[in-house]
């Protein structure tokens, strides 16, 4: 990525050579478009933050703040310590499910991807084709039968109902198969000649070499699970099992519209970890999307 930035920086003097008036007009147009879009995209987030810090009784007051003018951090404490709403429990529920799902997918997808890319056996390509074609099936189609299945085996209102159906993904298998295909075959061959078993070849030789694809899959699986809304709405019934997104929406209904500052503080709590993560790992997230986006 840095090389591309450098080369485009090198390109700049060439275009500076001639600068007709329409060029200046174009620059102004492009920059105002970018700045306006950035403001439109970010203003609601900064409104959430500013309003979550207002005195709860002022939270409906106009004009709105897009920059914090009051600092009632106790709104956050009120949400976290609220006796009726066990916020930390919801946070933990979401985190637990997301972590288990992510680890499970990393394992199952990388094992299958390794097998499809590096091992030879009868029926391999047919099975891989089954995986590929299941990518086309929208989640909506399997929503009803999966619900019936989950209910039949008695997993309704447990976190297993969210974890088990998400233990693998055809997308992840495809992504990792492509990544394993990219490893020079000399490496795995050498390991084999040295007498390494297949598990060792996978775990110690191949897996460390597909780091970018693994981290891309991890990021997407984690975010997908963390932000999952339909699943918890379908499967979870009791308050104590709720995950973060559904708890926030329920918080609005439960506390009513009188305590908007508290609701927004709850929203902000759900945003903070993601924001922190993105600020630190922006490059990985964007590269992750680039990796996954172009393999389609």
């Amino acid at each position: 990525m840095s090389t591309i930035e450098q080369t485009s920086a090198q390109r700049k003097p060439a275009s500076r050579f001639r600068r007709p008036p329409w060029f200046v007009a174009g620059e102004i147009l492009i920059w105002s478009f970018l700045i306006i879009m950035a403001i439109v995209e970010f203003a609601p987030i900064s409104w959430i933050f500013s309003t979550s810090l207002r005195n709860p009784s002022d939270s409906f007051k106009l004009p709105p703040d897009f920059w914090p003018t009051a600092f009632h951090w106790e709104n956050y404490l009120a949400v976290i310590n609220s006796p009726q709403i066990n916020f930390l429990l919801f946070f933990w529920n979401s985190l637990k499910i997301a972590l288990i799902v992510t680890l499970a997918q990393l394992l199952t997808c990388s094992m299958a991807g390794f097998s499809f890319a590096r091992l030879r056996y009868p029926g391999r390509d047919v099975i891989f084709f089954v995986f590929l074609s299941s990518l086309m099936v929208p989640a909506t189609v399997i929503m009803i039968p999966t619900f019936i299945l989950v209910r039949m085996v008695g997993l309704l209102d447990t976190h297993w109902a969210l974890i088990l159906p998400a233990t693998t993904s055809a997308f992840g298998v495809f992504l990792l198969r492509q990544a394993f295909m990219g490893i020079p075959s000399e490496l795995t061959d050498a390991a084999k000649i040295d007498g390494a078993g297949y598990w060792r070849m996978y775990w110690q030789i191949a897996l460390p070499l597909v780091g970018p694809a693994l981290s891309a899959l991890a990021i997407f699986t984690f975010l997908g699970s963390w932000n999952n809304f339909l699943g918890p709405v379908l499967y979870l019934r009791s308050w104590d099992n709720y995950t973060f997104p559904i708890a926030i929406v329920m918080l609005n209904g439960y506390m009513g519209t009188g305590n908007r500052a508290h609701v927004l503080a709850g929203v902000m709590i759900s945003i903070f970890p993601v924001l922190l993560f993105f600020l630190l790992a922006q490059r990985f997230v964007i590269r992750g999307i680039a990796v996954t986006g172009l393999k389609g």
Binding site: A38, P44, I45, L107, M111, F131, V141, I148, S270
Partner: protein, 315 residues
């Protein structure tokens, strides 16, 4: 894909040569191959393949979850034809999908082209963070926030409109404006994601092409018209397919923002399927409706693939 298969053939021949030398290892490799896919395959079978097959059985059943399923013949299918709400809801879904896909892709491409320009890395970092941020956040919480922002009387958006001398808009309470709000929210939330996909596509275009074109005296506009746009078409094709399939399955967006209302004005197909299944407990009919969506999505994807021959340039 082409490079992947090219790479594979030497692997195969190497493995082949090896299997002659190390004959006894062949069975081991076959066994290992199957064992490695067992976890993924079992999970895929139980939670994807079996449910799809079950859906095809379910459409002939009447099942309300509480009492055991009973044979219902083709009544679920004939109900499809006589459900007046289904027409309205598919019409909503169509409008939503067309507008959301269009604006998401246009804005995504324009933003990517803007951000891809040479600029200070801090500015680039800030821009990318601001533009991409809504993608990372829970849709449901953001929809809740937009619900606050779009309220007619004390909503922030209407306040800002009034500040610049415009009339307040019934964003969520009028049936025309509610659809506008739902599309607007989706574009606001998702265009950053498409920006990143297009950004990856733009960065994959070799710089050599631009350099050659500027040496030949091509203007900035000509370079965009004859290099950027043709070479971005494979990315655009991919982006349009995934954003279309995603838009057709939007759920939390309308659930939180409008609840499908007013009336049925913003009820989209997945919300309707959810309500048939889990409010009316007509699982068989819900499965039938979901299969219509499946059929439509497959048809649309095939159509896009066919059309893509006309406008997608692969090198």
């Amino acid at each position: 894909m082409a490079t992947a298969t090219n790479r594979q053939s030497p692997t195969n021949s190497a493995a082949h040569a090896r299997s002659i030398r190390w004959g006894s290892n062949r069975t081991q490799e076959v066994l290992a191959g199957y064992l490695f896919i067992v976890p993924a395959f079992v999970s895929l079978f139980i939670f994807l393949i079996a449910p799809i097959l079950a859906a095809f059985v379910l459409i002939f059943m009447r099942y309300d979850v509480l009492s055991p399923p009973e044979w219902h013949g083709v009544k679920n299918l004939s109900q499809l034809l006589s459900d007046p709400r289904l027409v309205q809801i598919y019409w909503n879904t169509l409008r939503f999908v067309v507008f959301a896909t269009f604006f998401n892709n246009v804005l995504g491409l324009l933003l990517a082209m803007g951000v891809n320009r040479a600029m200070h890395s801090t500015v680039k970092y800030i821009l990318r963070t601001a533009l991409f941020f809504p993608v990372l956040t829970t849709t449901a919480s953001l929809a809740l926030v937009w619900n606050f922002l779009l309220t007619q009387d004390r909503g922030v958006v209407n306040y800002l409109l009034q500040q610049i001398g415009l009339d307040p808009v019934p964003w969520l309470s009028s049936s025309t404006w509610a659809m506008v709000s739902v599309v607007m929210f989706d574009v606001w939330r998702a265009c950053g994601f498409l920006m990143v996909i297009y950004l990856a596509g733009l960065q994959a275009i070799p710089d050599v092409l631009y350099e050659a074109a500027s040496i030949d005296g091509a203007s900035q506009f000509q370079r965009m018209r004859h290099i950027t746009l043709p070479l971005i078409t494979p990315t655009a094709f991919f982006a349009m397919i995934i954003s279309l399939i995603g838009a057709a399955q939007v759920f939390d967006n309308v659930w939180v923002l409008t609840g499908g209302g007013p009336g049925d004005a913003t009820r989209l197909i997945v919300l309707y399927i959810y309500e048939i299944g889990f409010k009316r407990f007509e699982m068989g009919y819900a499965a039938a409706v979901s299969l219509t969506l499946f059929a439509i999505l497959i048809a649309l994807t095939l159509f896009q693939f066919r059309m893509s021959r006309r406008w997608v340039h692969y090198d």
